[in-house]
């Protein structure tokens, strides 16, 4: 036991942990800064601190378990995830910002889609690891897409497009890694390009809020002013941070209410405003290092399930960071996607920590078969 413990301590991915904790702490700092400087919403940073605490506990617990045993439970967890997603449509569900993606249980509320995301990812790893074929046949692909489709459609029905798309990110990555033919990959890419070409003119003429959000990034002249507002204020926040930033508690765009949703989806804007290019590029680099680390863990995994699991997590993380930061920097339309570890929101933090726990677990067990 002592030996095992010593080995656990030695093999534990302290680097990954410290990078993650660093980002989470930075997140709490920024939430505190932006909600308390001029406002009185002091609750957010405390909640976030609790969320990070729970997340770390969940992470350590997860690393204690052999990830293979955890993955074996994936079908059940997936079932639980689907059940939670369905619960959202009952009176227990809560609508926040037009998204019906919250469950409210007494004073405790959380977003099932964040949990279901990891469970779906696990089930995909579980299933694809069992398919010992390369390249994948059509049947496998169909089943995989089926596993993906059920929660994705539910999330989509919750009106949470950003999250629905996040399911697609790890689906694509895992199918790609599990051995889809190159021709299919090419076909999928061509399909995406065609979809974009077909959709673009339609979006230009469409005035639903989703279209407006797209237009306000790519065709700002066509977008309504009220939809451009958030994009413009985010740009101003980031840009006015300049190289060195305005310092902690120096945010004006965020703390004076010019930027809505500042403590969760737009926390990166505040971080950029207060810490400037130095801070924003450093935190982005930290995310990149974490993703690179996950990819490395996946590569070193001696078996398919570990590889797919960790690579899926890496893809999911990459998606979240790209979409969130992309929308803050006005490169992508605004979608309700939190920045992992930093955005205010316990479910997201705990889910991310759970995912990182799984990855660390994979790394711990890379030598034992």
């Amino acid at each position: 036991m002592f030996n095992a413990n010593r080995r656990y301590m030695a093999d534990f991915d302290w680097a990954l942990l410290s990078l993650a904790v660093g980002l989470a702490a930075f997140g709490v700092l920024e939430i505190w800064s932006v909600t308390t400087t001029h406002g009185t919403a002091t609750g957010f940073w405390r909640k976030q601190l609790v969320g990070v605490g729970i997340g770390l506990v969940v992470m350590f617990l997860t690393t204690r378990f052999d990830y293979r045993r955890v993955v074996n439970a994936a079908p059940y967890l997936y079932g639980v995830g689907i059940a939670l997603l369905l619960l959202v449509f009952t009176p227990l569900g809560k609508v926040v910002n037009g998204n019906r993606s919250w469950l409210e249980l007494g004073s405790f509320s959380f977003q099932p889609s964040e949990m279901a995301k990891i469970f779906t990812l696990m089930l995909l790893a579980y299933y694809l690891a069992g398919v010992r074929k390369r390249p994948l046949d059509l049947r496998t692909v169909v089943v995989t897409v089926g596993i993906w489709a059920l929660p994705t459609v539910l999330v989509f029905l919750e009106n949470d497009t950003g999250s629905a798309l996040s399911y697609t990110s790890f689906l694509a990555a895992m199918l790609f890694l599990a051995g889809v033919r190159w021709s299919w990959v090419a076909a999928a890419l061509v399909a995406v390009v065609i979809a974009v070409i077909v959709a673009a003119p339609r979006i230009k003429n469409c005035e639903s809020y989703k279209c407006e959000r797209v237009k306000s990034v790519y065709w700002p002249d066509l977008a309504q002013k009220r939809f451009r507002y958030q994009n413009e204020q985010a740009e101003i926040a980031v840009g006015s941070g300049a190289v060195l930033g305005k310092g902690p508690r120096g945010s004006t765009q965020g703390s004076l209410g010019f930027l809505p949703e500042v403590h969760n989806d737009f926390i990166f804007a505040v971080a950029s405003e207060e810490w400037g290019f130095i801070g924003s590029s450093l935190s982005l680099t930290t995310y990149l290092i974490i993703i690179a680390r996950l990819i490395q863990i996946a590569r070193r995994s001696r078996e398919r399930v570990g590889l797919l699991l960790v690579a899926g997590l890496a893809a999911l993380l990459l998606y979240h960071v790209t979409v969130n930061v992309g929308m803050v920097l006005r490169l992508l339309p605004i979608m309700g996607i939190p920045l992992p570890l930093m955005s205010s929101g316990s479910t997201s933090v705990v889910a991310t920590c759970f995912g990182l726990g799984l990855a660390i677990s994979v790394r711990l067990r890379r030598f034992v078969n």
């Binding site: 074929k133 740009e235 190289v243 004076l256 010019f258 290019f277 924003s280 993703i291």
Partner: protein, 692 residues
């Protein structure tokens, strides 16, 4: 079957291939992050300045603190116009829906002690007003009002207390036309690209500027440098707690001393108040330098309406009435009113004739009485036989001046009209001065220009022979009519005919008669104290510089004849006996300007009564012009008014006790007070026949 497949599945190869594909994902991640960081570089390093400015514009609101305008004093340092600090409670229309107004009205009525109904009406009016115009819900707010507004700034960011120094005209309508009034700069003025109050000059909506009179003319002196408060606001425009970042104090405008003498002004106002038609003008000046001591125009207005009530519905109504009043109270008759000067003009004819040698001091007798001009008999009210120039002036002998005019001839006469600069603005430091119309040939020609041109044009187009002949005849006739006739000459010689002169022109003219031919530019600015202007530039103390003064040639002999004549008018049984002030040696000249033909009667067609004067005779220190519109004869209406003002002036400057019966002038006016005690003035109408 499963095992078969398992056998064909090479786990190591699978992991190797997956690893290769992972590498692709890794590169993809690097590309994506490179793009994100490039975007950060673009926003935060390359373009940060623009975003910084926009962030500042977001968070900081600049609230101007208007500077107080400079105080306007009279020549002895008595305050005429001042500004007092005050606050208005303002409701911003920005972001306030019409449907919210009743609630806001309730709120304001409850906490700021404003009449609910009055407020409802104001809001109703405001709905149709310009969108940018914020609503003044309370003027001259009390300290508790301001405290309430400031305490609730977070809940009700649209309600603010704004500093608005109030311009206070201490004496109401006293000297209103000279002092002028202030008001908000209009959108039109802002738009004018090169206008004095354009946006380019830094003016903005809501700025208070001088609109009339001294306030307008010396706006640059009186306007101070606005200060500002920079406050921190949130996205809803709410000022944050302790949100004041910076406060730049306003610098008040420069004080201005006018040449007006409050005592003289008050006396002049009192006399103007008794004018029977309620219309007329009084102006007093120091003939030695052109300093205006008093300026009155009737009817008058209270400039406080513009500075204090212009935004209230009641005030707007009052202002509208001022504009619509047919008697034009906003019109400064002293500089904007053109009237035939009547017999006051005879002095010009006399000076001209003496200078040109038409008559000489030794030999100046000319026939008086009616004169036959062509087939028209021009009557004269005087029949003095063959008076000298002195007697002709004293008794205002019309017949004498008819003939003198004819002897002088139009060329020489015109020359003297021009020498005295009639038909030109005096250049007084007030806006909107009129040039008047001089009695010269050109004026008459111009009258016929239009019909002649019209006929000529018709002639060009006409083909019918008879019609052409008719037109040619008509043109010939018109040309003939346009020529200067003897009739024109005799009328012009005694101040009738085509002559529209302003009281200020006559004032400068009588000043020159008093001082021997020096025409100083009448002016109201004595000095402006040192200080900074609205752009922050330093200015030292400045006084008025008369750059347009000029002389008319007038020998001492001629000067003496004129002065003696004018002295006689007042003191030797002349037409202006009503202006006599014991011990002050008043010299003057009456004038009665015919307004319409004699057979029409009624107030508006009564003659205008003129009296011009100076005193004392040997060392003149004050000159005056009094015009009583549609009142009758100058000697009866305007000379006694002049007398009252000069008497008051004389007694004050000589340290004598005020005249005991002064109250008399107030009831009934001088026209109905024939029995001035001590025989200082002759009973009016003593020589009515000689007043023209």
């Amino acid at each position: 079957m499963a095992s078969d497949k398992n056998q064909s599945f090479d786990s190591t190869e699978d992991l190797r291939q997956a690893g290769l594909r992972l590498q692709i994902i890794y590169y993809l991640a690097i590309v994506i992050f490179a793009a994100l960081i490039a975007r950060l570089w673009y926003l935060q390093v390359i373009n940060s300045q623009g975003f910084k400015d926009r962030a500042e514009a977001n968070r900081i609101r600049v609230i101007p603190i208007p500077a107080q305008r400079g105080t306007i004093f009279d020549r002895k340092g008595r305050v005429l116009v001042t500004s007092k600090a005050s606050f208005n409670i303002i409701l911003s229309r920005e972001g306030v829906k019409d449907s919210e107004l009743p609630q806001i009205a309730d709120l304001l009525a409850e906490h700021l002690e404003i009449d609910r109904q009055w407020l409802a009406k104001r809001f109703e009016d405001a709905k149709y007003g310009a969108q940018y115009e914020s609503i003044v819900v309370k003027e001259l707010a009390s300290e508790s009002d301001i405290a309430w507004v400031n305490a609730h700034g977070y809940e009700y960011p649209m309600i603010t207390a704004e500093e608005a120094p109030q311009r206070l005209y201490l004496y109401g309508q006293l000297a209103a036309h000279a002092l002028g009034y202030v008001g908000e700069v209009s959108p039109e003025e802002l738009k004018k690209p090169k206008g004095p109050f354009s946006k380019d000059n830094g003016y903005k909506l809501g700025d208070i500027i001088g609109k009339f009179g001294i306030e307008s003319k010396y706006n640059d002196i009186l306007t101070g440098k606005d200060g500002e408060r920079r406050v921190l606001v949130d996205s809803r425009g709410r000022i944050q707690l302790n949100g004041e970042i910076e406060r730049i104090k306003p610098v008040p405008g420069r004080d201005l001393y006018t040449t007006l003498d409050l005592d003289v002004q008050k006396a002049a106002e009192a006399q103007a108040d008794t004018m029977p038609a309620g219309r007329g003008a009084v102006a007093m000046m120091d003939p030695n330098n052109g300093e205006i001591l008093a300026m009155v125009s009737r009817p008058a207005f209270d400039p406080n309406i513009f500075s204090q009530r212009a935004k209230t519905p009641e005030g707007k109504e009052e202002i509208r009435e001022l504009y619509e009043d047919p008697d034009k109270p906003l019109y400064n008759r002293v500089i904007q009113g053109g009237f035939p000067p009547g017999s006051t003009w005879k002095l010009l004819t006399a000076v001209a004739a003496l200078n040109e040698g038409t008559i000489t001091p030794e030999n100046s007798r000319i026939q008086d009485g009616d004169i036959q001009v062509g087939n028209y008999l021009q009557h004269s009210l005087s029949h003095l036989g063959q008076p000298t120039i002195h007697d002709a002036i004293v008794h205002s002998a019309d017949g004498y001046f008819y003939r003198l005019g004819l002897k002088l001839g139009v060329e020489k006469f015109e020359n003297w009209v021009k020498l005295f600069h009639f038909g030109q603005r005096t250049g007084i430091d007030l806006p909107n001065e009129r040039a008047g119309i001089p009695p010269v040939r050109q004026t008459k020609l111009r009258e016929f220009e239009v019909p002649i041109k019209k006929a000529e044009k018709q002639l060009e187009e006409a083909t019918d022979k008879t019609f052409r002949a008719q037109l040619e005849f008509r043109i010939k006739q018109l040309r003939h009519e346009a020529e200067w006739t003897d009739f024109d000459m005799i009328n012009s010689a005694f101040g009738q005919g085509r002559n529209a002169s302003t009281p200020i022109q006559l004032l400068r003219y009588v000043g020159a008669l008093a001082n021997g031919g020096h025409l100083h530019t009448p002016h109201l600015l004595l000095r402006a104290v040192a200080g900074i202007d609205r752009n922050g530039e330093e200015h030292t103390e400045a006084s008025y510089k008369d750059e347009n003064a000029f002389d008319v040639p007038m020998s001492d002999t001629i000067h003496k004849i004129v002065v003696d004549g004018m002295y006689g008018v007042v003191n030797e049984g002349g037409t202006g006996g009503g202006a006599r002030v014991e011990g002050f040696d008043v010299c003057g000249k009456t004038g009665t300007a015919q307004v319409a033909s004699k057979d029409k009667s009624g107030k508006k067609t009564n003659d205008h009564a003129w009296f011009i004067s100076f005193a004392p005779r040997d060392k003149p220190e004050i000159c005056s012009v009094v015009l009583t519109e549609n009142a009758g004869r100058g000697g009866r209406e305007s000379a006694p008014r002049t007398q009252a003002i000069l008497e008051d002036y004389y007694r004050r400057t000589r340290g004598l006790p005020p005249k005991p019966e002064e109250a008399q002038a107030e009831n009934g006016g001088p026209g109905t007070a024939p029995g001035n005690p001590g025989g200082k003035t002759r009973p009016p109408g003593a020589k009515p026949q000689a007043q023209n």
